[in-house]
């Protein structure tokens, strides 16, 4: 489940970030410890620690001495804002390039979006 | 010191090798001798059995095994070669003492029962173990020790140089003896040598054996230093 491309610690950070963004890790909830993550993913604890630190440095996790790492207040919002900003670059641009390659013009593209949008339950909340 | 004791303990885990078999083999041979002696109609005049040598040869084998079979795991346990050698020596001294006491005790009983009621001299070896109990004790102790330490040296030679090495080692010793023979011939010292041996008491012999123990011990130790596992 861990792919070869991105560094392991980045993948760990992304997994936790995903959980926070989706809401399955609530704010104020404890995040698994370095050792727990290491055992679960079967990786070196130092790698797990690195991943946690990335999130901590981004202000998404906070340390409570002696207890562990917790999801910081406002973390979810921060992540969603950040991801919205990157949405265009990550998803939109590739789609536009591919559409151009296939000779799909803008109007066709927009009607496709509307049509498929209904199928996939409309825009996200 | 603790390490040395632990090495001795380590060897003794294999009690079969170091205790059960030597004792067992000795008494088996003893039993066989007893059986034979009880069957023959008359007691011969000179009725010494060489059976006790089984024990001494067995000690040679034990010594070799301590440095071959048991060495790799011993060193793997974080023991230096020096400690392993000295710890084994500690064990060997203990066992030699124990068995020497055994021989002396049984010799006394043998004398008291006049050869186990059959005139068998098993625990009494002509000239070598033929004196009072305290000399028997000392001589068997030194001789057992020598057999052990000599065996250890062979074991180490085998580890370092394999069968070829052992053969060469044996050949080298023969050459040394040959050299001594030549030396005696050249210096015309045969008469002196003869005199030395005829006047040599068992006590003196024991001294010579003790010297050989030191020689074998030093040789084994030197061989140990570069042994690898």
């Amino acid at each position: 489940m861990l792919d070869e491309g991105t560094p392991l610690f980045v993948q760990i950070a992304e997994q936790i970030a995903d959980d926070i963004a989706e809401g399955s890790l609530a704010e104020g909830e404890r995040v698994p410890s370095t050792n727990e993550l290491a055992a679960f993913y079967r990786i070196n604890p130092a790698t797990a620690a690195k991943g946690i630190n990335v999130l901590a440095d981004d202000g998404l996790l906070e340390k409570r001495r002696g207890i562990g790492m917790f999801v910081a207040a406002g973390a979810r919002q921060k992540l969603l804002t950040d991801r919205r900003q990157r949405f265009a670059e990550q998803y939109l641009d590739p789609m536009l390039i591919e559409a151009k390659r296939l000779g799909i013009d803008d109007e066709t593209l927009i009607s496709l979006i509307r049509g498929n949008g209904h199928r996939n339950g409309g825009p996200a909340a | 010191m603790n390490t040395l004791v632990n090495v001795a303990r380590y060897h003794l885990v294999d009690r079969l090798q170091y205790v059960v078999l030597p004792v067992g083999v000795t008494f088996f041979a003893f039993g066989v001798n007893l059986a034979i002696f009880s069957l023959i109609p008359e007691t011969p005049e000179e009725n010494y059995s060489g059976g006790l040598f089984t024990l001494f040869v067995f000690m040679l084998v034990c010594g070799a095994m301590s440095m071959t079979k048991s060495l790799p795991f011993g060193l793997a346990l974080g023991v230096s070669r020096r400690s392993y050698y000295l710890g084994t020596l500690l064990l060997v001294i203990g066992l030699s003492a124990l068995y020497a006491v055994g021989i002396a005790v049984f010799q006394v009983i043998e004398d008291a029962t006049r050869g186990w009621g059959l005139g068998l001299n098993y625990f009494r070896v002509p000239w070598l173990l033929d004196g009072p109990w305290y000399l028997t004790l000392l001589t068997s102790f030194v001789f057992l020790l020598l057999m052990f330490v000599y065996g250890m040296w062979y074991g180490l030679i085998y580890r370092r140089a394999s069968v070829v090495g052992v053969v060469l080692f044996g050949a080298a010793q023969v050459l040394v003896l040959l050299g001594a023979v030549l030396l005696f011939s050249w210096t015309d010292s045969w008469a002196k040598l003869g005199e030395f041996f005829s006047t040599l008491t068992v006590g003196g012999m024991t001294g010579v054996l003790a010297l050989l123990v030191c020689l074998a011990g030093a040789g084994g130790f030197a061989t140990m230093r570069r042994v690898t596992v």
């Binding site: 070869e4 790698t47 | 885990v13 079979k69 023991v79 230096s80 690898t228």
Partner: protein, 295 residues
């Protein structure tokens, strides 16, 4: 911090054959370092010299800052798990007892637990154990010893995939609970790749890689797609390997690609597959062979 193991110009020759040639590495404290390489690369020789079971022909070794040769202060603090460990005529429980006398940190409970995990019969003579069980025994001793420096030389010989995973899990478990320096030699690289913090790769007795594991992941990439596009993309980069089929090509380059390069590849519809640690090793040792061939 003093490295736990430090070698300088370490060399071991057996007659004509050089098992280790001028090896200078530092193994850092508290990390899990992988000693990777093909069979016969020199990994075992290295580990045996570090533990003074073998002697160097030239160069020096320092363990905990001192020479390990005939040095019980050092030897007491380390343990080497060898798959070819020779045992005396002991039963399984004898070997464990003996180990408990010599290792100051010996954990009998852990030993018991590992015996159960590996299903090792305590009363059986070691001679009668299968190869896998002997490995399991050596692993049990090695882990229960809790030595500050734990060296494992291809410890999994004869262990099936399930037992191997059990070993990795228990190793990781105990390392997390009791951090120590671990040096693990293996040729089954993909299985342990994620456990490693640092990697030292040996090929034909020489060190060919010595870097943090994170650095190595993604250091080499295979670019696949239409041959012309691929050639355009890899121009000027260090190529490790080329393959062609029809009008498609697959080229492995020894470079980490920055985001702009990745974007370019995407635009060209090229597929990027980063090399795993194992593939990296294969290419590195093949590279050596290729260099020798052209020399």
């Amino acid at each position: 911090m003093t490295p736990t193991i430090s070698t300088t110009g370490l060399t071991r020759r057996y007659g004509d054959h050089t098992a280790l040639g001028d090896v200078s590495v530092d193994i850092e404290e508290g990390k899990i370092t992988g000693l990777l390489g093909r069979n016969g690369a020199g990994k075992s020789t290295f580990l045996r010299i570090v533990t003074a079971q073998e002697f160097a022909s030239a160069g020096s070794v320092r363990v905990f800052g001192e020479t390990p040769v005939e040095n019980e202060r050092v030897l007491r603090r380390l343990v080497l798990v060898r798959e070819d460990q020779q045992f005396p005529d002991f039963k399984v429980r004898h070997a464990l007892s003996a180990a408990s006398w010599f290792y100051p940190n010996w954990d009998a409970e852990l030993a018991e637990s590992l015996l159960r995990d590996f299903d090792l019969p305590t009363k059986r003579p070691i001679k009668k154990l299968s190869r896998g069980m002997r490995s399991a025994l050596s692993i049990t001793i090695g882990l229960a010893a809790r030595a500050e420096l734990t060296l494992l030389d291809e410890p999994y010989a004869g262990l099936d995939a399930v037992a191997r995973q059990l070993f990795y899990d228990r190793l990781l478990d105990d390392y997390s609970a009791h951090p120590r320096t671990i040096l693990l030699s293996t040729h089954l690289i993909d299985e342990v790749a994620d456990l490693l913090e640092h990697v030292v790769m040996i090929d034909k007795g020489r060190v060919v890689l010595d870097a943090p594991a994170d650095e190595l992941r993604g250091t080499a990439v295979t670019v696949s797609g239409p041959a012309l596009a691929v050639d355009d993309f890899v121009a000027g980069r260090r190529v490790l390997h080329r393959r062609k089929i029809g009008s498609r090509a697959s080229v492995t380059v020894a470079e980490a690609l920055d985001p702009s390069a990745k974007a370019k590849a995407k635009a060209l519809h090229l597929k990027l597959e980063p090399l795993s640690l194992q593939q990296l090793m294969v290419h590195t040792s093949n590279g050596q062979t290729a260099e020798e061939a052209s020399a």
